[in-house]
Symmetry: C2
Subunit: 198 residues, 2 copies
C-alpha cells in the first residue's frame, strides 16, 4: 500500500465520481493534501450541504434549497407559460440559454414501458392538478425527442386536451451553426418535415 | 443563476480540482446531489482528515499519517539501502512498481538556481545527518533525469563522498516495451552510453 490509509480511502471515494479513474482520483487527493485547511473544510461543508438541503421544488419538482424554487417564486416570470421537461438538468440548460421567461414542470423521467416506467411514476398527476388551477394558458412539451420523450409528449398532449389549453412541442431541427453534413439523419428528416415559412 | 446558491458554490469549489472545468464540476455536483447521505458525509470527512492529518514523515519526509511513515517503521524493509527522490509521488511510483525493498529520503524538490532553490531549501542536511548514523550502506540517487535532477544528483554525490558509502544513480534508458522509434533523442543517447554487458 503505497499511500497512508486515509489517503487510500479518499482516492477510492473520489474514484466514484463520474468519469474519474484512480489516476485522476490520485491527482485530486494530492490537491486536497496541498490545499489550505479552510479551502478543504469549505468544500467538505458544501458537499454535505448540497446533498442534505437540495430537494425537489413542491410546485415544479426542479432543484431547490427552499420548499418552492426560485423560478416558481419569482413574480417577474410568466406564470401563464409552462414548459414540461424530464429532468432538472433540462431546466438548467434552458435557463442558461436565458431566453425562456415562463415556468417549468419537471416530470422526473419519461414514459418507458421497457423499464417499467408508467404515468404514475412521473409527476403527471401533479402537472394536471397544477393546470386545473387555471393560471397556465400554454404548455410547451419540452421532453427529449427520442422514443420515450416523444411517447411522453404524445401521452401528455392527449391528457391535456380536455383542459382547452394551447399545447405546443419544442422545435426540433438542425442545431444553430451546424452544417447539414454533420447532422444525423433523424434530425434532418424532422427538420425537413417541420420546415417553416419565411 | 440556474442553480440553487449552495450548488453554485459547490460547482465553483469542485472546478478548482486539477483538470476539472465547470461542466465536469456540474457532473460531480449532480453525483453529490444524488448520492446517499452517508456516502457524501464519508467523502467530506476524508477530505478534511487527509488535509489535516497527512504530513511529512520525520525521518524520510514521505507522506505519513503517523510521525514516522509506514516504510521507515517497517522492520522487514532493508534499512541499509536508501533511495533519494525529489517528491512523495516518486516514492509512490517506486512502491507501486513493488520491486524496491529499501527505504527512502524525499528531498521535497531539486536544486534549481533559476527558481532560487538551493541546497538549504531541500532536505539535504537531514539526509546527511541520517547517513552519519551509519546504518545505510548504499544510496541510490533517484532524482529525475533533467537539468535540475541531474544537478541535484551530482551535488549529492559530491557531498556523500566523505561518508565512504556506495553511491549509485538509478538507471535511465529505453522504457520497457517501448520501440526505439518512439523514444526521445536524449533518452536514446543515454541508453547507448550506459549500455550493459549481457
Amino acid at each position: 500500500m503505497p499511500y497512508p490509509e486515509s489517503m487510500v480511502k479518499l482516492i477510492e471515494a473520489l474514484a466514484q465520481l463520474p468519469g474519474v479513474g484512480s489516476r485522476t482520483a490520485e491527482r485530486f487527493a494530492f490537491y486536497v493534501l496541498n490545499s489550505r485547511a479552510e479551502t478543504v473544510e469549505e468544500l467538505a461543508a458544501l458537499l454535505v450541504k448540497v446533498n442534505g438541503s437540495i430537494h425537489a421544488c413542491q410546485v415544479c419538482f426542479n432543484l431547490s434549497q427552499e420548499p418552492v424554487c426560485h423560478i416558481c417564486s419569482d413574480p417577474t416570470r410568466d406564470h401563464t407559460l409552462l414548459c414540461v421537461v424530464q429532468d432538472p438538468k433540462d431546466v438548467i440548460a434552458l435557463e442558461k440559454a436565458g431566453d425562456y421567461k415562463g415556468v417549468y414542470h419537471v416530470l422526473l423521467g419519461a414514459l418507458s414501458p421497457l423499464e417499467g416506467i408508467g404515468p404514475k411514476d412521473l409527476k403527471i398527476k401533479e402537472l394536471l392538478e397544477r393546470l386545473k388551477q387555471g393560471e397556465v394558458r400554454e404548455v410547451v412539451l419540452g421532453t427529449t425527442s427520442d422514443t420515450e420523450g416523444d411517447a411522453t409528449a404524445t401521452y401528455l398532449a392527449r391528457q391535456l386536451k380536455p383542459l382547452k389549453l394551447r399545447v405546443t412541442r419544442i422545435a426540433h431541427g438542425v442545431p444553430v451553426g451546424s452544417a447539414l453534413e454533420f447532422v444525423d439523419k433523424a434530425t434532418l428528416a424532422r427538420a425537413m418535415r417541420y420546415r417553416q415559412e419565411i
